[in-house]
């Protein structure tokens, strides 16, 4: 394996779109041609074999690293051959579909992890992703489209990018492409028209992508202003000095439970902390030191949530205390938390008589702190 002689990490460029067929890959390849003319050594490290004909034409004059074939359940699957790309050691590697989940038996679970390996080796990577794959938007996407996206990329991976390019096309043009069969095979078109391509979905996803791109552009300006030269903006650290707009730095505390709604709480907390350029901590409180009050399932759920929080670069804390709401509020006071994030829990009249639900207890106890009760976005409100 070649050594990263300069010791400098490769830079990342992300082509951000809002649906299949907007032209992310096409745009990336067109830019790669221009780069190749400027004597950059560009290779295609991974390219969807089912690509659109005009996209395939764009790819033809560029050097492509052969895919790795991996057998899974008797079928052959194409994956990026990360080792071969490292061997070839180009200036720029093009890697399509950042959010892709590798087939079992691959070295790494996610393609974005393979991309980290290339970046670590000092290779510049250009890649494509749709806005619905950004982890912290997962619940909003569900709320808007009714679709739960399983393949996600943590926000910090996108944040590493030195450059984001918004690839825009109007929904009308996209629907034309779809109906002409330029995006999916005919049997897939009908399915697409009832999914992401349905009704107002495309417009909503497009708006999200444009706003996300604007936000990413804004973060990079701040990072530039702070350093006087370009630096990678880091989540929560784009503004240094602990003071934003003469306000104390935001510190968001996310309360972890075994409840499935915790995942949504983590995503929302991450997103808000990110936008407010604050700090984020996830806290789990258990009553007994050995976690004896939890069933195996609950314990696994809590561990999963803590791992998920860490994967989004959120600090995690586990403490033991007899009274959970009281412990959360005390921790918040001691750690100078500015907002406590709790999930809205539905409870009946009877629970209220027995002392109310958890969110309400926190709100009652934390009278001098801000508490954000995060809504369950998977339920559409009844109009």
């Amino acid at each position: 394996m070649p050594l990263n002689v300069t010791g400098k990490r490769g830079s990342l460029k992300v082509y951000l779109g809002y649906a299949a067929g907007v032209g992310k890959t096409f745009q990336m390849l067109a830019d790669a041609h221009a780069a190749a003319q400027r004597v950059a050594d560009v290779v295609i490290a991974y390219f969807e074999p089912h690509a659109r004909p005009d996209t395939i034409a764009q790819a033809q004059s560029l050097e492509a690293i052969p895919h790795r074939k991996i057998e899974y359940r008797g079928k052959l699957f194409d994956e990026m051959d990360t080792d071969a790309v490292l061997q070839r050691n180009p200036n720029i590697a093009l890697v399509d579909e950042l959010a892709h989940t590798n087939i079992p038996g691959s070295e790494r679970a996610k393609r974005w992890e393979d991309v980290q390996v290339l970046l670590d080796a000092g290779i510049e990577v250009w890649t494509t992703v749709n806005v619905q794959h950004i982890e912290s938007l997962n619940d909003q996407i569900w709320q808007i489209t009714g679709i739960q996206v399983r393949e996600t990329v943590p926000d910090w991976v996108i944040r590493q990018a030195g450059e984001i390019v918004a690839v825009d096309v109007t929904p009308d043009a996209l629907l034309n492409r779809l109906k002409r069969g330029a995006i999916y095979k005919p049997e897939m078109v009908k399915k697409a028209l009832t999914g992401f391509f349905k009704g107002s979905n495309l417009g909503a996803l497009r708006e999200l992508a444009l706003r996300q791109a604007a936000h990413e552009v804004d973060l990079r300006q701040t990072a530039y202003d702070e350093s006087g030269a370009y630096q990678l903006p880091r989540i929560s650290e784009a503004r240094q000095g602990g003071v934003v707009d003469n306000q104390p730095k935001e510190h968001i505390l996310i309360h972890i439970t075994a409840e499935p709604s915790t995942a949504m709480l983590i995503r929302r907390g991450r997103r808000v902390a990110d936008y407010l350029q604050g700090h984020c901590t996830a806290l789990f409180v258990h009553r007994t030191p050995q976690l004896a009050e939890l069933s195996t399932d609950e314990r696994e759920a809590v561990e999963k949530h803590l791992r998920f929080a860490r994967s989004l670069q959120i600090d995690t804390r586990v403490i033991s205390a007899p009274d959970i709401p009281k412990a959360v509020v005390e921790y918040a006071r001691q750690s100078k938390v500015t907002q406590i994030f709790v999930a809205q829990s539905k409870t009946g009249f009877r629970d209220r008589l027995r002392g109310g639900n958890f969110a309400e207890s926190i709100v009652r106890l934390a009278q001098n702190l801000q508490v954000t009760v995060v809504a369950d976005r998977t339920h559409k409100p009844v109009a």
Binding site: S11, K13, D31, R38, E124, Q140, Q143, I144, G162, E163, V165, A166, V167, D168, V169, T170, D172, A173, G199, S200, G203, A204, R206, E207, L208, L210, R211, A213, A214, V217, D218, R220, Q221, Y224, D225, Y230, D245, Q247, Y275, L276, Q339, Q344, G356, A359, E360, V363, R364, Q367, N368, L369, V371, T372, V373, A375, D376, R377, H379, K380, P381, A383
Partner: protein
Amino acid sequence: MRISELPRPSPERLLKQVQAEESKRWGARLKIFLGYAPGVGKSYRMLDEARRRRERGEDLVVGALQGQQSEEVQAIVRNLEVIPPLGTPSGEAVDVESVLRRAPQVCVIDPLAAKNPEHSRNAYRWQDVQELLRNGISVLTSVNLLHVEEYKDKVQAITGKDTAETIPKSFLLAADEIVIVDVPPDLCLWRQGEKLTSTGISNQQERKLSELRELALLLTAEVVDAQLETYVHAHGIEPVFGTHERFLICMTPHSNALPMIESGKRNKERFQGDLYAVYVCEPGQSRKDGAKIRRYLEAAEEAGATTEVLESDEPTSAIVDFARQKRITQIFISHSRHDGWRDRLFGDPVLRLMRAAEGIDVRVFPH
């Protein structure tokens, strides 16, 4: 200042309706390519689409072209039918009469923002475009952020460039389609003839372009949001929640609104979102608290909030109804000074709102 049954249509929507009705009979559509600066490749994107439309059999002509053209653009234009503009000593104008006589399906006008020479048919080129649309001719056109009237000053503050040729923002909001042509600033500078640097912002010029780029992306998002609203209205479907953060501050006579207003302002800026503030009056309260209401409403408006006074003896449901109507994503409410018997009878108003605000975040502020 009561909340009405149905949201009033915005001027943009009315304008759009008028334009849509005018051109619907003919199926004429306006598509705008927006760029944040010269060199992003708007003309190329637009003419490339023109080429593809021509190849698919659409009857397309070119009515106006930029003075300076890249080789790629020239290569495309050679294969298109061009209706030469009318030249006068003081400038060029689209030959509207010839285009109307030729009556193609689609006409390319590059760029959109231009002042026509004196004694032309219309004072501005965007009026020429409207005339073509009214006559059933679809238009593909391009515009730079600098030439959008409402952005002119902002762009000038960043780049020092000024222009006399602008189009109103409402023209963009009323377009059938808008597309942003986005490239990283370094590539944009390279196309303008600068040396290409590394990825990311590396000098002052790129920093400035990056600001323009952010403005253009947000402007496009705003247009897309307006289109979504129109779509939702036209199809009578549920409003779309959560594409864009919208904060609602609830002010009552017994709460301290100022910290909420300050935080609302910061959230609006950081999230590039919308801010609303409502003052909830229960019958009988309004007179006593008049001065306070005015002070809070003024402070909220200064912070950039759209304000409204809600009068209801059911404050919780009035707030939630308002929030749904405005597609609010987060409600700000503050603990109130306890006025004992009410809370004992009806429950803490904060808790009541938390229970009622399904699908919306509730942020509770200390008193």
